[in-house]
Assembly symmetry: D4
Homo-oligomer: 254 residues x 8
């Protein structure tokens, strides 16, 4: 019951006059503003737990937040947990079903069952050095309930490798396309499929690549419609969004 509801009751019970209630309204309203917004957000958070952004957090902070989320009945996903960080976090979470992927720097703890979407998320990546980001995307989409198939090393410099995966391109309900270097893969893929394409530039490259800015601009400037782009190396964001889109295909809101 909200603070305002309690005021209703008090007014109805004659414990407060409407005037007195009005006098106390401002602070009640302010508190309620937060409550109402929380209410609004509650549904959005249901089934889609908040992720822990590991960068810049101490092992202690990561472990404490993870435990709090688990206690709230949620599964846990923590991004950007380096191997070193994991070694320190691991003992702090002893006894829990830790699922750590060193390449993707991703820690998942999934005591609760996860929904299983009917649609497929395809994660493609241009080169093997892009694999960690692609894996982060794949494991994130899986974490939220999407079946995933990952095809590595299908970069545009050897088109046959991509065309050899046409079957996968056709079967996917959503595609995550990860590419560093020149970042041309999403444009090529989007020209071959009807499904939405989420493009992820990576920091793999050097010189004029500018730490990922080159493929980022490439993807934003794509001449193929049906593409949207996430931040450089943001495999997590791509996997999250891919699952949200995939869920729609099962009639589940985002």
């Amino acid at each position: 019951m909200s603070a305002v509801e309690r005021l209703f009751e008090a007014v109805a019970r004659g414990e407060l006059s409407p005037a007195e209630a009005a006098a106390r309204l401002p602070e009640v309203e302010l508190a309620q503003l937060g409550d109402a917004a929380l209410d609004l957000a509650r549904e959005a958070r249901r089934g889609r737990p908040e992720a822990i952004y590991g960068e810049g957090k101490t092992p202690d902070q990561v472990a404490r937040i993870a435990r709090r989320l688990l206690e709230a009945g949620q599964n846990v996903i923590a991004t950007r947990i380096s191997a070193e960080a994991f070694r320190e976090v691991e003992p702090l979470l002893a006894g829990l079903p830790l699922d750590y992927a060193e390449d993707a720097r991703l820690l998942r703890i999934m005591p609760r069952p996860v929904p299983r979407r009917s649609g497929l998320v395809a994660v493609l990546c241009a080169g093997t050095t892009d694999l960690p980001v692609a894996r982060e995307a794949a494991l994130t989409a899986e974490f939220h309930g999407s079946p995933v198939e990952l095809a590595a090393d299908v970069g545009v410099a050897g088109l046959h490798r991509l065309l050899g995966r046409s079957d996968l391109l056709r079967r996917a309900r959503v595609l995550v396309v990860v590419a560093g270097m020149e970042g041309a893969l999403p444009s090529v893929v989007a020209g071959l499929v009807k499904a939405p394409v989420i493009a992820v530039p990576t920091s793999v490259g050097y010189g004029a690549h500018l730490g990922g800015v080159a493929p980022l601009l490439t993807m934003l400037s794509s001449c193929a419609p049906g593409i949207a782009v996430v931040n450089i190396d943001n495999g997590f964001g791509a996997g999250y969004l891919a699952d949200a889109i995939n869920a729609l295909g099962d009639g589940v809101a985002g």
Copy 2:
């Protein structure tokens, strides 16, 4: 019938020996490579006609391509058609049901019925000066079959305006969020909803806004997951993708 199919027939009819067919295969295969790819692409194009990018095209070119698409049984959408350009294109397409939106610089010709999705695309925009891009997104999504509701002037500097549209936020299956200036709106919206958010930075602003680079970087760096970004002022791309995602909710591939 593809070139290879015709070879089958010839072989079956005894007009060609398998050996002779094999000898002629290379050139046939090369041609077919294109055909096959076209085949692959054909489905993708079904119901989702190629758009005409109006920038840098002469009125003549626009009109000629439009007619060709119409003759192929497709509806037509042409982007970045300025009022001046439209005045020159209009007589060249006399007699056709031209639907021109000057603010969005969008020309649509829709003699064929359009599918009608069951889900709603919400298009939000931060300021009234962002409206043309928002309108481009809305009209594009509609063109492909999505019902659209557009809420203008819900920028973050007056949060109550956005919160006053909570109902729309909840009802939308996909959201397109358009913002110039600081581009903060998509982050705020994505924190309130579960549906996928397509963010569109606009070139509205000055100085450190750098022609849209500021909101672009903002949106890519968003701390809220579930957002993907299209190019600056790319309302068309956002509307196209929004509809493709929306279609999934009706069990229609991309």
Copy 3:
């Protein structure tokens, strides 16, 4: 009276049971969320009317918004109204006390009396070509109630000009310092005074000046504390903030 207040009355009058009121609460709360936020914002807007950002608005839009604000009992300030735009807006606002400054591209309509702060806002500008931005800042601060003194052409290449204005530097409660070219003036001024300094880079310059980016970076990197920076050419924002700070000195919140 807010929607929730009206519910109180109805409950108190027995027209609604607490249960019925609770059932109608969600939609009322959503509406109220906006109302409450508006409430929160109402005080902020009191005496400090919303400005009209003229860029990209039609004369009609400017005139319509201006009239609406005037009818709401507010004074009007419209920025980035070019001389051409003003010529078209003027007849649409005939009969009103229009105060237009062509150099500052600022239109003010002030039928209501304006508060008069006790503190002084000093607006300094480095070169005469920076004057339009300085004037925008000065007229904006005045609009909100601050007395303003403007000293032009006190750039650092002729330090004596600045030092000759030491008296003004001392008397000001807040300073707005406007500079294009290398943008060094705010650093020098902030080293001479104790009052807060709002720095405004301008787009006056060429080449490595990069349209104002050079003085912007200069001001942000200043080695003198007590400076904060607004966007390139944003005289309005500087004048607005200067008045808000100035008001504090009279015990008036922001």
Copy 4:
């Protein structure tokens, strides 16, 4: 007594003729120019001691400057003192009341009582990883005399967290808003309050965030007036300016 004053006395005492005094004037004036300027600066420095910028200084340099300031009767604040640096500085300042905050990399030594402003400085920060910069701002404002309340983790992706702090927003005379990632928080806050907002972008983020350039541009491009921005990670500058503004509310110049 200034050099010129001493000349007065000598002239009055007949020790120097006006002509002789005039002959010696140039060098005296030059020296005095500095003195006068120092004079001008003296008031500015009263109660607001010069800070030690720790970056690139040896422990020895830091300790020596600190001692000199203490001997001059001032309190000491040294920024960007890493934990390692502090370990080396600590023994060099043994016996002094060292107040070191490792997260904020701030060393304060406050043997002298500090003024106590009547107004409140609110420091908000978007994420927990922005906390060190927020803490630097808070401790700096406190150092100069401002009571501070710090609210962490009120980022725009979970708006309810911010709205839940509306009370703090209302009570603050000045706000420092710290945000990395997309840097949207200051715009949202400035839309809710009347008090001046000092925005601090942080280097927390990756990829298109460009080491803080993204939130910096965001904040400069804000559509909400009443914001000014300091350099990336410049918590010190924000805290310093916040106190200077806050002091005005008590009738204390800057």
Copy 5:
């Protein structure tokens, strides 16, 4: 005969003693330094006349330089001659066999026969709006002696269009690949062929395309070896280099 050679003769004829010759040597050497270098350059220029860069030149200057080159027995190629400029230049060059291509902004005057290479230069371009730059490349290569085939509109978003031109890809000795937008085409082409690829980014695009910087970075970061890049919109440079490479295949130096 060079100045030094004339000195030889004079010494041999006894008109100058070796000592006198030595005395006059410095100035002769200085002049000769230029001559020698000119000598070195002479061969390089033979058959490959200097181009006229039309931008920023008056019609008069263009015409005068053109006449001078023609008189020296060379063919003329002038770049960046707009339609307006050509209208003014035309009467100044009346009577000459002017060959002007408005789309490519290229003026060629070829009274002298041009060598005819045995190899083919293929010029591919991604979109029809890239055609002017592609045409500039093609006409330039032709001007120097290369047979050219131009294939327009073979962008990566419709891969079948490119694959349908496999035959051309195979036959070309050198390829010029022109692309705006995301600039992915050269990478794809270089993955399909063995011949050298000269990539030309164009300024066709908007927003994050940054006037051609996006495809430029893309092409430089290409994961396919065998590509080199020229400046944005530099069709002339690409055509020139393509012919120089093509000439090698005929045993002709550069």
Copy 6:
């Protein structure tokens, strides 16, 4: 034999009717699309093995790919193999004729004889600190069959050093010109020779050099035609392309 060929045979043998073959065609075509593309690529790869990009690969990955290529009868070239990486890779490839150049970070294994071009590739570099990149280019060109002469330290600040190598400039069929700092060397060289010039900017420099962006822009903006540019520090790409161009002079395609 391709899948389609097998269908021919089956049709010819009467095992399949043309209709049945047509029904099975789609999946066969898709598979074949890859095959055909591979076919297309096969010739391109003959004699020009794929390089291993060492950056970001584990020693294990490098060794495994190297062995696979050797087993396929190809020579091996691996780039960006640091001395540390080589120490770990070496034992994994024991017994093979490893040819490692620490300065160029290049590992070559060449059990198969390499073709020997008749033309010369000249590699010039401006300063001794540019030598590693120049060496990478030289060793790569050699690996593919080109004789190479490398001239170090011929930067433009001492023009005599370059002019003293005029003989080399004349004899080269292709030139690779490597330069950091201001990157002016390629322009000067291209003004002296007729042969194609491949320009390689390096990351040698500091400050406004921006990690190689300065010489990159310099080279792209060169006023001398006949230059094309590869990525910063991309000695491998330059050497590869130089050999491909050089091969043309021997009548060998790319």
Copy 7:
């Protein structure tokens, strides 16, 4: 006589006691601060009049400032006066010896004789399109008293043209080297001479030239010492500095 000097006299005359003088000192000192600084600056301005920066000034402003300077006995130099602006300024300055150079956009009025330095300023420029900036430099140096020789079209792509001017290179006491495109000329020149080189990048170029940023970075990154750089297109600044350096050779301070 300064304000302080007048105080001396009054004290000596007994009109003021030293104490009274001390009481009036602060305001006198403040005023004097400016005076003293002016004094300091006076010598600097002698013979080197302030220039009028014409950009953004009205014809009226230009004429008024010019007349004021002339009345003060100075010659006048006004930069960035377009042909249009000059047509409007001309009648306002009728009767004066106007010396207007349209290409350099420079207006000079020199009724007073100008000093004549003994040393030579050489102004070199790479291309004919760089000539306006070179001319601005040359006319400015002349204005201040330096004899100037200008050599146009000596760009590095045709080295012989530069080497052919070795005599000029040797005779110059100071060199101004102007270059657009790749901006390599100053590095080459500085490697040939001992005299100071002032480098001026120009905005002549396109694409990766970025409006002059490419040659600017080139010049700053030059491997040849003895170069300093001024802003893009800043011929005035280069000519001014060249004369100031040249003056030193005659024993004239700056």
Copy 8:
């Protein structure tokens, strides 16, 4: 005697006919081209030895080049020699008069007497953290013969510190002004003096300072004429140029 001179003698002695000499001329000329250029450069190098750029050179390389220069009778200056590098170089140069400045990372070996200019070079720096760059400039100018006075910590935020050094400002024939952070100092200094000002931006700063780009742009955009700029942290270049200018005042060419 040059190769051509020897040919003269041989012709005069009848050992070679003019025809034979002509036949051998080309190779002789080519060699001589270098010689002549070297000749040209010889004077430039006299008394101004080539510096060793230490960055990226091994201790061995540094020592070897140093010895070679010493043997050629020159003094040695090596830049960017870190303390670690010096520890390794020191034993390799045992017995030589090594003069190493750790802060400036500069190694000087000066067995030969250095000329002594009559003019003074003033080196000013804004903050103590800029001191290493200022010291590099000062030691370099001294190395070439200029007396130097260095004034540290005269940044614009405390103007009195600068004005207190007016005497130095007046006495200097050339000024080197070093500044990080906002880089405003050169503009202020150039407004106070007549002497040429060489501005050196430093990498001291953070955030929007962008590693020195902010003060670099500031200095290039300076509104005060008489300034030229060298690369970020290029104390060596500034000191070198300062001495070259200073030498002019003694009638010594550059």
